[in-house]
């Protein structure tokens, strides 16, 4: 299978994620979309590593996963706090700061 297709998939995933962040209101879903983007990047790394036959890209994928996990910890902490205060996870509700 042509490895370029993985790249296309990666680009699609990234786009879905990027657009998802913009159109979805639920903070958790928004966050998931970001994770999707990270994973799209991971896929791209792995694909390139595969094409080139080096391991660098694959190593990076592991790093990314770790970092993403950290991000989840921080992210969920923030989202949960917000939820506890507001009883809502809609990112649109959190719009006191503006202008």
């Amino acid at each position: 299978m042509n490895s370029a297709n993985y790249l296309y998939l990666s680009a699609m995933l990234f786009t879905i994620g990027a657009v998802g962040v913009v159109i979805r209101r639920n903070a958790i879903v928004v966050f998931m979309c970001i994770e999707l983007m990270l994973n799209a990047a991971n896929l791209a790394f792995v694909t390139f590593a595969r094409i080139n036959g080096t391991l660098d890209g694959q190593v990076i994928a592991f790093f990314t996963m770790v970092v993403a996990a950290c991000e989840v910890v921080v992210g969920l902490a923030i989202i949960v706090t917000i939820f506890r205060s507001r009883r809502s996870t809609s990112v649109d509700d959190a719009s006191l700061l503006k202008r």
């Binding site: 994620g17 990027a18 990270l38 950290c70 923030i78 706090t81 506890r84």
Partner: protein
């Protein structure tokens, strides 16, 4: 295969020490009684930073050393930036040292009994110090990173603690949490872009190191689309931290919502780190693409100057106003960066990069002092953030009004304050190649800084010419007072004799450019 990894710990020592200090801080948070935590944490943080600085001094003469398998590059700019970051961090920690600014228990629901009792019983959590140290470690790594993966990790280590800290405000917790959410979501979003861009840079060059990418770009036969996407998305991740338009939208909201102490952290050292890394990436990694990214930076700086200055004028919230002002100032800094592209004339390039570096350092110094003053005003029991809160500050506290005025005049670019030399050096770097485009951009920048002067001076007017709303004097612990005075004096002294700092900047850049 069985080579023992040679990490060269001495080169990494400054970073590792800070990380170690952070871990100790976490342990203290876990095991030491609440009453004594605050002072212990503060001491640990300050001590750590101090020791880290000492260890940095020991390696200050390195010109181009690599550590940890080439993933960390210890060279002139890196050491210089690390040193500056540590100094700034030291100041910042001293200024924010009072834990009253932070929520007693971040996990408690705002306004709940739980929170009240936490405040009453003094069960104050002090996680802000270890978080700060983690962020500082990230910042230290940032300018030294020399491959994409280190870069990404540094970016996250720098960012994640700040996301959390943004939500730690004791007062106005809803705002604070919202700021944290926005900061986090947008930060993560931009990180994702960064990572995706990094993937494409890797795809283009099949190398993760900046040097490898550089070589591949010079080779120039590979896929340009990958390169462009990579360049753009990676820059996006960094420029998000810088706060350049159109990646600026988080800045005002986060600056306003976060506790002022954290705003001080966010607005200070991370800008240095982000600048350093942007420069490293663009110059070390992607110099051959200069024409492209120069174009990009022109657009960004024009946008930043325009949006930042104009939006700042109508603000009534001081922190928001300073946020927009930051955007504008970063626009100026980008001008310095983009001026470095001058057909391989190393002298001009060094001049430009050092001007940008000088700009960002002086800017951070000024921000530190101005947020420090705002922070002090918050002590009277409420969060100070409206411009009117500064009314008649001169009558309440001439010293802090003076420090603030010095900062504002400096930001406005009035000589003989350091901000003026920053603008001067950036503008001369811009005009040095003698191109018409540079001239137009310079005039635009100059006009925009006039608008800037308008809102900075409005605050001076409020401080000096308006009647105070409260008669309470501003009191501050002695150390904070000393630090702020020192900081204000530094802005003035650097204004009278800016030569030394300029030379330092220039030397570190020249070393890096290897000429």
């Amino acid at each position: 295969m069985t080579d023992t990894p040679i990490l060269q710990y001495s080169f990494l020592a400054p970073i590792l020490i800070v990380l170690g200090g952070a871990v100790i801080g976490v342990l203290v948070e876990a095991f030491v009684a609440t009453k004594r935590r605050a002072s212990i944490q503060l001491s640990i943080a300050l001590f750590t930073i101090f020791v880290s600085f000492i260890s940095l001094l020991r390696i200050r003469n390195l010109t181009s050393a690599k550590a940890a398998f080439n993933s960390v590059m210890i060279d002139g700019p890196a050491i210089f930036m690390q040193g500056t970051i540590l100094l700034i961090a030291f100041f910042a920690v001293m200024i924010i040292g009072d834990v009253d600014h932070f929520t007693a228990q971040a996990s408690a629901v705002p306004g709940s009994e739980e929170e009240k009792s936490a405040v009453q019983t003094g069960r104050q959590q002090t996680e802000v110090f270890p978080l700060t140290l983690f962020a500082v470690a990230g910042m230290l790594l940032f300018p030294a990173a020399s491959d994409l993966i280190t870069l990404f990790v540094a970016l996250e280590v720098l960012s994640l603690p700040l996301y959390l800290m943004a939500g730690l405000s004791r007062r106005r917790r809803l705002f604070s949490q919202e700021a944290a959410l926005k900061y986090f979501l947008l930060g993560a979003y931009s990180s994702a872009f960064f990572l995706f861009g990094a993937a494409f840079l890797y795809g283009f060059s099949y190398s993760v190191t900046l040097a490898g990418i550089h070589a591949a770009v010079i080779g120039g036969t590979a896929n340009n689309v990958f390169l462009l996407i990579g360049l753009l998305f990676v820059s996006l991740g960094l420029l998000f931290k810088v706060g350049a338009v159109p990646f600026h939208a988080w800045t005002p909201d986060v600056y306003q919502g976060a506790p002022t102490a954290v705003t001080l952290m966010i607005g200070g050292a991370p800008k240095l780190a982000a600048f350093a890394m942007t420069m490293r990436l663009l110059v070390d990694g992607l110099l051959p693409l200069a024409i492209d990214w120069q174009q990009m930076l022109v657009v960004l700086s024009v946008g930043s100057l325009f949006i930042g200055n104009l939006a700042a004028i109508a603000q009534t919230n001081l922190k928001r106003m300073l946020a927009f002002s930051t955007i504008a100032q970063m626009g100026f800094m980008l001008i310095g960066l983009l001026s470095g592209v001058s057909n391989g004339n190393t002298l001009l390039a060094a001049n430009a990069y050092s001007s940008a570096m000088f700009y960002v350092i002086t800017y951070v110094l000024t921000t530190l002092a101005s947020f420090g003053v705002i922070l002090l005003l918050a002590r009277a029991g409420f969060e100070s953030e409206e411009i009117t809160d500064l009314a008649g500050l001169n009558q309440r506290s001439p010293l802090y009004a003076g420090v603030m005025a010095v900062c504002l005049f400096s930001l406005a670019g009035v000589p003989p304050l350091v901000g003026f030399y920053a603008k001067l050096s950036v503008l001369q770097a811009l005009l040095a190649p003698g191109q018409t485009g540079g001239l137009i951009l310079a005039i635009f920048a100059v006009m925009m800084s006039l608008i800037g002067a308008f809102y900075y001076l409005r605050i001076v007017k409020v401080m000096y010419f308006d009647q105070p709303l409260t008669a309470t004097t501003v009191s501050a612990p002695q150390d904070v007072k000393v630090v702020l005075t020192l900081n204000g004096a530094l802005i003035l002294i650097l204004g009278l004799v800016p030569g030394g700092l300029m030379t330092l900047c220039a030397q570190s850049i020249v070393k890096a450019l290897g000429t």
